[in-house]
């Protein structure tokens, strides 16, 4: 596998209930590639949290997953409201989710901390009123 493998998804921001499809799809593809189950699990969780954040906080966005010989890179890009205070958003328990979103089981304020925990590298670029791009890398070696 010398050429990197790239998966691209448009993440629909209007449907909370079916959110997570891109992550489920990526998981299936990584399985077919025969990657280590624990790596697949980390990629799945990190990507799901980012995908859900795009849906509930940014009205959707785009997801790219790039698989190379030594890493899986996940890039999540949205044109939502941006994050005012990234440091605060990264804290466990911090959430701006509304009560209707909470009733679906979201809004614990654990998504970004999970993404940090399950990835080897994570970078957030965000600008208020412009959008947010989250990059995560999970190393294979």
């Amino acid at each position: 596998m010398s050429e990197p493998l790239v998966f691209h998804y448009d993440v629909d921001g209007s449907d909370f209930t079916s959110a997570g499809q891109a992550s489920v799809f990526v998981k299936r593809n990584l399985r077919q590639l025969g990657l280590d189950p624990e790596i697949i699990r980390r990629v799945s969780i990190a990507m799901y949290e980012g995908e859900i954040n795009m849906v509930i906080h940014a009205e959707g966005g785009e997801a790219d997953v790039i698989v190379t010989e030594d890493a899986v890179e996940i890039v999540l890009k949205d044109h939502g409201p941006g994050i005012a205070d990234v440091e605060k958003a990264m804290q466990e328990g911090y959430s701006t989710a509304t009560s209707s979103i909470q009733s679906l089981g979201f809004g614990a304020g654990m998504g970004l901390p999970n993404m940090k925990r399950y990835s080897d590298e994570m970078q957030i670029d965000t600008e208020l009123g412009v959008g947010t791009t989250v990059r995560m890398k999970i190393r294979l070696t």
Binding site: T17, G20, N114
Partner: protein
């Protein structure tokens, strides 16, 4: 123990596409990000949540089964989804704590 064996101990299967899966530990919780962050692969996930997102979380967190408590069941469409994704879902009339105690006697 295998997921399918739960049926002999008061848990009712709603979907059982992968009943031979072995249960390794359990995690109890209704907030999806806690489950994502804390549940181990192959754990039984005990919850009262039964919406579509539960099926996605169960797949991605790689749990061995979802145990719905307090008599909670699945809508037909969520049931179909769980089935298609290979997710075992069982239900019990017990509250979550009692269900966890029961499970811990079994596994």
């Amino acid at each position: 123990m295998k997921v399918s064996e739960l049926q002999e101990h008061g848990f009712t299967a709603l979907t059982l596409p992968d009943g031979d899966r072995e249960i390794v530990g359990a995690y109890m919780g209704d907030l999806l990000s806690w489950v994502m962050g804390r549940a181990r692969a192959d754990a039984a996930w005990i919850t009262i949540m039964s919406n579509q997102n539960v099926a996605a979380v169960a797949v991605l967190a790689d749990v061995s089964c979802v145990i719905l408590t307090e008599g909670v069941t699945l809508d037909e469409n969520v049931k179909g989804l769980a089935e298609a994704k290979g997710i075992n879902v069982l239900t019990t009339a017990l509250p979550s704590y009692e269900a966890a105690v029961r499970l811990s006697e079994l596994i």
